[in-house]
Point group: C2
Chain length 187, copies 2
């Protein structure tokens, strides 16, 4: 039996990082059901015993893989509302293509329907993804209006990708930001 790994050891941290990146690659390229201890061991070149020592349960492994993946770069804030909203949405749309966020979100949506552990993973993943958008809007709008804006802007990207199979164009993103900001301006 491999001993429980010391998570302060830099080599251990690197091992974990490597393995979790491989785990997300497996999810993206082979689908949710392929994301098992055995497949991750095989793909990453570590032993099954090592993988089990770090993540005794399959959902520990899945949860940590999403945790690492969600640490995606968001654009630096400029303080200009229109620029920051466009930047955040463009970055979200790009992640769909460059990091296959479309596959990741589709898997979360589908498996959260039937698996309570996935509901928790989705909740923390979505909260992390929406946080910069909520921060940008924090001082501008509140209550059900803020909720509406967050859902409309994030939903524009996720609906486009998950339901139409493509990211929204730059023109559509710019139009959406313009409509929302004009809509929020005082009458």
């Amino acid at each position: 039996m491999t001993p429980a790994p010391d998570s302060n050891d830099p080599r251990v941290l690197r091992t974990r990082k490597d393995v979790l990146a491989q785990a997300m690659n497996i999810l993206i390229s082979e689908g949710w059901n392929a994301l098992t201890h055995a497949r991750v061991a095989n793909q990453s070149g570590y032993s099954r015993a090592t993988i089990y020592a770090h993540w005794p349960e399959r959902f520990d492994l899945i949860s940590d893989a999403f945790g690492q993946y969600q640490e995606m770069p968001h654009p630096q804030k400029t303080g200009d509302l229109e620029t920051d909203l466009r930047g955040e949405l463009t970055s979200f749309a790009q992640a769909m293509v460059e990091h296959r966020l479309d596959r990741v979100l589709a898997s979360l949506a589908e498996h959260a329907q039937t698996t309570p552990e996935v509901v928790e993973i989705r909740q923390s993943f979505v909260a992390a993804g929406e946080a910069p958008m909520r921060e940008i809007l924090h001082d501008i709008v509140s209550g059900s209006k803020r909720e509406a804006v967050v859902l409309m802007l994030c939903g524009m990207v996720s609906h486009s990708v998950l339901m139409h199979g493509k990211a929204p164009s730059r023109a559509v993103i710019n139009s959406a930001v313009e409509i929302v900001l004009h809509g929020l301006a005082k009458k």
Copy 2:
């Protein structure tokens, strides 16, 4: 071998309708992989030979099941833009709960990632679902602005359900419609 069914016979039409409704129930309650000829025969009480005679391929069966399911009632248009947009979004949000549209959309999103036949099914399903919204907006806005509004409003509902696990509240729907209509008003 069961002969190819005559699709003008009213009994045949009723059989097809029954079977397709059962097929969607299977998808909703047991998931995509359960939606097979064998399971549909078993669930609907018809023979496998009958199911194969109507739908020789699995994707014929799936495609027709979605085709029947998508014939959902949409609210009658009143001609008042705000009322009609609210009505359409409320009906969309209700379908998530009452007809488990959440499960249906999650399955489409997930399986379209890897299966080209599902991309086609999703395309026609989403086009049918969005059609009344596009019709309401047709004379009001065009081009990338219309696309932005359709994606934002439909996306508000689908993002809320697929990513947050709940339909948007009435207050959020009303705020979204208000922001969009104010945003589209001439400056």
